[in-house]
Amino acid sequence: METNPPLIRAKDYHDLSEQISSIVEGDVLKTPLKYWITLGVTGSITGLLGMMLTYLVATGIGVWGNNRPIGWAWDITNFVFWIGIGHAGTLISAILFLFRQKWRTSINRSAEAMTLFAVMCAGIFPLFHTGRPWRAYWLFPVPNTDLNMWQNFRSPLIWDVFAVSTYFTVSLLFWYTGLVPDLATLRDRTTKKLKQWIYGIMSFGWRGSARHWRNYEAAYLILAGISTPLVLSVHTIVSFDFATSVIPGWHTTIFPPYFVAGAIFSGFACVMTLLIIARWALNLHNLITIKHLENMNKIILVTGSIVGYAYACEFFIAWYSGNIYERFTFINRAFGPYFWAYWTMATCNVFIPQLFWFKKLRTSIPVMFVISITTNIGMWFERFVIIVTSLHRDFLPSSWGYFHPTWVDMCTFTGTIGLFLTLFLLFARFLPMIAISEVKGVLTYEKQLFKGQETGVVAK
């Protein structure tokens, strides 16, 4: 292993365009068979999602395991899980941009795409949990004659509707704005008339004029500036769904920062899982280097530790507050019927990421791949623990219960994983996975563009 590995390896600008665009430009029919097989598998799982949702709509919400006293179960767990994963994309594209972290340029495009796909998966759960998804417009202040009233703007659930839909829209705009110059590159590289037309229209006739770039950079900076509080607000508002209720275990002020840290933690882990696979399958070793992965592992370590601190803090406050219900809920979480979920969560989220303190481990691909997956298992369990253990034993012992997921619950969640992977596979094949123009900018302004050097451009 190199002691001080370079950030990006490319001979020159053209080589960079070549490395990234060649993935997109290959003849569709000549795509390797393993791609089609993978797409076939994930596509079939997406089909399963379609079947489950059809079954749910045709039969009723009772096909899920939600029941008294656990009215929110896997559906909301999965919703918060997917929304959380989405947070890494905007963090990488907006917050790291404002902090001038140049290493973000190799990973921001794919992380933003991941955000969009994760938010799509997230949206499915509350939408179908309403039971009548064709009435979804009731969630928005749309004048209509069948509801005949307005939404309750005092409820955190409506705040959530606004937060999540704004988040999706802004992420989409941000992602597409970044894509425009790269689509122009693809338009200029192709010699096929039809592709020139498609890319030409998709890139809005971008020509890279200095005036364009000036407005473009202003737009990018503004989008980064407004997305930064946005990304923090979204999971804050998601946590309000719980924190503004009076359920012990939910009614705490630590929720907003704790949820945001957890979201970034799980999101980075998910970016890591996808990038390790993409880097290997698409041969992106020159552009996504150990340095990028190591930096991401450091963020996973920090956010994992914040999450660990939040767990400890919650426990302490449950005892220190003197509130017997709060205290019971927490002891019940760790040592009650759901102890297995609690300790899976604590192991995956708090203990395992501490391995990243060692440089050897945080630069080892197999280690980080495994940790990225355990982190997401842990973060799924975190949401499950928060939601289900707080509900299953409330104030009245006569209504205590235990949640059993049905096969529909399981297949629906598996289906969303299929949908997520299918969309990501299509993205990786048909759109430039790395922001070409941004990486070129980094190569230049790190002042490390050595002309004519065989070993290539090395930006630290």
Binding site: Y176, S209, A210, I226
Partner: protein, 191 residues
């Protein structure tokens, strides 16, 4: 509507007799900035540059004004703030007052999340649509596409343009000037 191709060309400023400008090509962004500054010092005012990524310093070198986008975004963003507050107030107080949980019909505190989200949403649309509008995009055609190496302006070449409507413009002399500041390849481009 006049569908005569010549009339359309004339209207769009496309035609065999029209010249868009002279384009000089550079291999390196620093050379582009350097050349841009020199050309401007020669007294040209209608300059443009094309590059595969934003070249820092080119704006000052060839006189590209600051982006007005920020002003557009803040105005539209504040419209978003007002929209949210008006919506919540009008629905809750005027159109359909409904007491829920003893909470007030309208208050700034519970309006914060939605107000914030709509401000961000409006600002995001304003910055993307405003950016495109200020750039005159989307457009299907631009005379600079006629340049033989136009396709490399999004790859690895840096182009400096002296536009034909510059008062100092003279196809031959301007081409000469571009060559004198180090352009590898100079071409007069028809519009």
């Amino acid at each position: 509507m006049n569908l005569d191709p010549n009339a359309i060309r004339d209207k769009l400023g496309i035609g065999d007799d029209k010249v868009y400008g002279v384009i000089g090509e550079f291999a390196d962004p620093h050379e582009l900035v350097h050349a841009g500054r020199k050309i401007r010092e020669m007294g040209y005012t209608k300059l443009d540059a094309m590059s595969p990524f934003p070249v820092h310093g080119i704006d000052d070198a060839i006189g590209v004004p600051y982006s007005k986008l920020g002003w557009i975004v803040i105005c539209i963003g504040l419209c978003g703030t007002a929209t949210a507050l008006l919506l919540i107030w009008w629905c809750g107080v005027i159109n359909y007052p409904l007491v829920i949980g003893g909470k007030p019909l309208f208050d700034f505190t519970f309006s914060i999340p939605i107000t914030f989200e709509l401000t961000v949403l409006f600002s995001a649309f304003a910055s993307v649509i405003g950016m495109l509008a200020l750039n005159g995009l989307p457009r299907l055609y631009h005379p600079s596409f006629n340049y033989r190496n136009a396709h490399r302006a999004s790859d690895d070449r840096f182009l400096l343009v002296i536009e034909a409507d510059d008062p100092k413009f003279d196809a031959q002399k301007s081409a000469e000037h571009l060559r004198s500041v180090g352009a590898d390849l100079v071409e007069v481009v028809e519009g």
